[in-house]
Amino acid sequence: MADIDLSSVGKTFAGTPALQDITTRFDDGEFVALLGPSGCGKTTLLRILAGFEAPSSGQIRIGTHEMANAQTGANLPPEERNIGFVFQSYALWPHMSVRRNVSYPLEIRRFSKTEIARHTDAALAATGLETYAHRMPSDLSGGQRQRVALARCLVSDPCAVLLDEPLANLDVALRATMQGVFTDFHKRTGATMVYVTHDQAEAMAMADRIAVMDQGRIQQFDTPQTLYERPKNRFVAEFVGRGTVVPVQEVAQAGDARQARILGAEVAVQSARAERQVSHVCLRPENLTISESGDLRSKVARVTYMGGKYLLETVTDCGARLFAETRARFDVGAQLGLTITTPWAFSEE
């Protein structure tokens, strides 16, 4: 069992809070992504899980073991946590061969020679590195280096693997391949993985659940679909997908169905049952259809070709900026009508 439990974890650096009151649970075997803009605290949270930083408040458990507790001052050092960590800079030891880099964790654990050889071979095979075993890290490409780093953390069978923006230094094509490598790795090992990234496409593609972070807090922790379709607040709505948040002018409740007035148009909206009062809706391109008879009259302000389709940035008569997608080409300045269909509504104080 390697659930990760955090209860009211906080961290301040020289008086400035970097993390505030994080209480959450990552389940055993889950692939969790920590997503957020730079400076949101996601890397700090990861480094606290690893033990490189100690929390200023709260406590952390992995499985049944307490890792850190700010009250008692207990903080298990990283070397005793049995976690794997993959660095953005790979952090391969340049003076050791690929094989030695991978087998080093087993040396530390005093495995026998034959055991070391067996596990190392398995880890190298799992990452497709057999033929590179005797190279030095400086002779490898970026993607190969990251695979060595992955093999190194897989070899010692850690109870959780923490990854700190592991693909940030790779080019776009390689990033897609490596996403596949990570997903396969996760399927095969069933290890709990916590993956820090600022790239939402990356998080959506790989994670079971995504924790969207901002200003040191988890804003929403849900599956990719839920995050996209049912954002909890303005930050999540705008950060995930191409959402535009607009205020709701009036709401009418009829049973389960809700009718709202948005930008002057009457629209049926969806919202969480628990939500008594909604104040804003999130408009994504798929909530907007372009038609001659659309209620919202707007003008095209910018056209971006997206390959097979166009992204239109339009300005409505009342001044709101909305994004719509279309297969037909429009010119800048063209007038068109937009219809809003069942957007997600939430309440924002």
Partner: protein
């Protein structure tokens, strides 16, 4: 402690190890300095300034102070003129073979001052073997021109020109070419660019270099001892030496005051240097992509010839004098094919028990100090980089003190600290251990700074990666940090070895029969008139120095930036 561990996370063993090593390092480097200060302001255990007043009122103190200030001050001016001229020409123009020139200019700094003095006396004066051989020696009875304040000033100037050269060259190289180009575009011409743009930008590094040169010249013992003692011209370091050598430890309190006096003047110089260096950092804005390179045009060849001629005169010529003296059967005989003999070499290298003992002592002390300092400095520099506690930062700003302070000051401080070990009747004074501990203190910064420079460029993720796979602090130091900083540690170790192997100032005050070092033996051989043997020994040491320097140079590409002192 708790607070520190909380702030930085990581393992508590790091915090514990850091405190442990830091305490050892502070005891080694700062405790002696503190002990000296206490001695100066107390009298038999109670605070008193009477002793200080008495010593400072003695005429010998005042004249030595005056001599020290004059020789160090004017000597610094000589260094300034020579070093600055070389630095401007090497750093700013398109001279050829710059690397060779820089290497040659570094040699004077690495050759111990007593050998510099010895070699120069061999090419001047009536008994110079070289001059006799060439038939241009002054008549017998003519005075040795170097046995004079002017001689001391001249040799101090040559000995320390490398310091000015290095600091100024580093400063000049950090001036980007576009600064001068911008001045030209704005309409500034020729010398105007020079005075209004280049000079103001180099002033801080020039001032810093001058201050540290003055401090080094002030603490120099070898040159005023070899040249000044025969002339009856005492500086503060030689006065301390003469008093201690003449009257033993009974005058310890008195010489402590003298040592403090040197220390105070030196600290003033060090503070000035720090101030200038911090001001220089302000100038280091913008890219330094392309340093200045002014074409010399037709003047290039004449300038090159001139520079190499100067190098020949200050480096090669004295060595010829030394060589000539070492190859004649008796001092004063002319060197001819039929008089050449290796008797002095054979005698000094293989026959004399005192020299072989000195070789063993110096080798053991230098090698021991190198190894011990690697063991202390490597983990300490690493831990100080990882956890910047207040104590660690304070130590970082003070650890240069034992190296920057004149050797005489450190030696007296060491005697005071170790003459009677606390809680026992034992003493380390007169044993080899006091020299060893003094070397550790003195050369601590020589080892620490290159290692620190290389660790600053070290990616902390390397260590964290090892931590995350379960490696303990000891394993990480052994398997990751040590191998990766080994080149810097090696460079530091060679530098420590080089300086300690040749050292005279500290051991001159701390040696006793059986614990002579090579520096002491050369000094004593020359003092007792065995100039031939002294020269042979000095030549041997010069060869060792040049070989070791060449070794560092050879591997310099593998060292991180800032590790080899003459490649900053």
């Amino acid at each position: 402690m708790m607070n520190v561990a909380q702030q930085n996370g990581g393992s508590r063993s790091e915090a514990r190890l850091l405190s442990a090593i830091l305490i050892v390092a502070i005891c080694l480097t700062l405790a002696p300095v503190l002990r000296l200060f206490v001695e100066g302001v107390t009298d038999q255990g109670s605070p008193s300034l009477t002793l200080m007043r008495d010593v400072l009122a003695q005429p010998s103190t005042l004249s030595a102070l005056k001599h020290s200030l004059v020789t160090a001050g004017v000597g610094t001016l000589v260094s300034l003129v020579l070093g600055a001229a070389f630095a401007f020409l090497v750093a700013l123009t398109d001279l050829r073979a710059k690397a060779a020139l820089v290497f040659c200019l570094m040699i004077p700094m690495m050759i111990p001052p007593q050998i510099t003095a010895l070699s120069w006396t061999q090419i001047m004066g009536p008994s110079s073997v070289l001059l006799k051989t060439l038939g241009i020696a002054p008549p017998l009875g003519a005075p040795q021109p170097l046995y004079s304040p002017e001689g001391i000033i001249f040799l101090l100037g040559i000995q320390h020109m490398s310091i000015i050269f290095l600091t100024l060259r580093a400063g000049l190289r950090s001036i980007p070419q576009d600064v001068v180009e911008a001045a030209r575009i704005s309409g500034a011409k020729g010398l105007r660019t020079w005075w209004q743009v280049v000079m103001p930008l180099t002033f801080p590094s020039l001032a810093a270099g001058t201050a540290i040169t003055f401090v080094t010249a002030l603490g120099n013992f070898g040159i005023p001892a070899m040249l000044g003692i025969p002339a009856g011209y005492a500086t503060l370091p030689t006065l301390v030496y003469q008093k201690l050598a003449g009257m033993g430890t009974t005058v310890l309190a008195e010489v402590s005051v003298l040592a403090m006096l040197i220390g105070v003047v030196a600290v003033a110089g060090i503070l000035l240097q720090r101030l200038c260096q911090s001001r220089q950092k302000l100038h280091l804005v913008g890219s330094t992509s392309r340093p200045l390179a002014l074409p010399l045009g037709a003047a290039r060849l004449p300038v090159e010839i001139l520079l190499w001629a100067v190098v020949f005169a200050i480096l090669v010529l004295p060595m010829f004098g030394l060589l000539a003296t070492s190859l004649v059967p008796a001092y004063g005989v002319t060197l001819r094919f039929d008089t050449v003999t290796f008797a002095s070499w054979y005698e000094v290298l293989f026959r004399q028990p005192v020299t072989s003992r000195a070789f063993a002592n110096s080798f053991g002390l230098a090698a021991g100090a190198s190894v011990a300092l690697v063991m202390i400095c490597l983990p300490l520099a690493w831990l100080m980089e990882r956890r910047k506690t207040r104590l660690a930062r304070l130590f970082d700003s003070l650890l240069d003190l034992p190296y920057a302070l004149p050797g005489v000051v450190l030696s007296i401080a060491m005697i005071l600290l170790l003459i009677k070990l606390p809680f026992t009747e034992a003493t380390l004074y007169g044993t080899i251990w006091i020299i060893f501990l003094a070397y550790l203190a003195r050369f601590f910064a020589v080892m620490f700074r290159p290692v620190q420079a290389s660790l600053k460029q070290f990616n902390p993720a390397m260590d964290e990666a090892a931590q995350s796979v379960g490696a303990s602090l000891y394993r990480r130091l052994r398997d990751v940090i040590f191998p990766l900083s080994a080149p810097a540690a090696a460079a530091g170790a060679i530098l420590v070895f080089l300086t300690a192997f040749n050292e005279l100032t500290v051991s001159a005050l701390l040696w006793s029969s059986g614990t002579e070092t090579l520096g002491v033996v050369i000094f004593n051989l020359d003092d007792s008139g065995e100039t031939g043997m002294a020269s042979a020994l000095a030549m041997t040491i010069v060869i060792v120095v040049v070989v070791l320097m060449a070794l560092i140079q050879l591997f310099s590409r593998r060292f991180p930036k800032g590790v080899v002192p003459w490649q900053t």
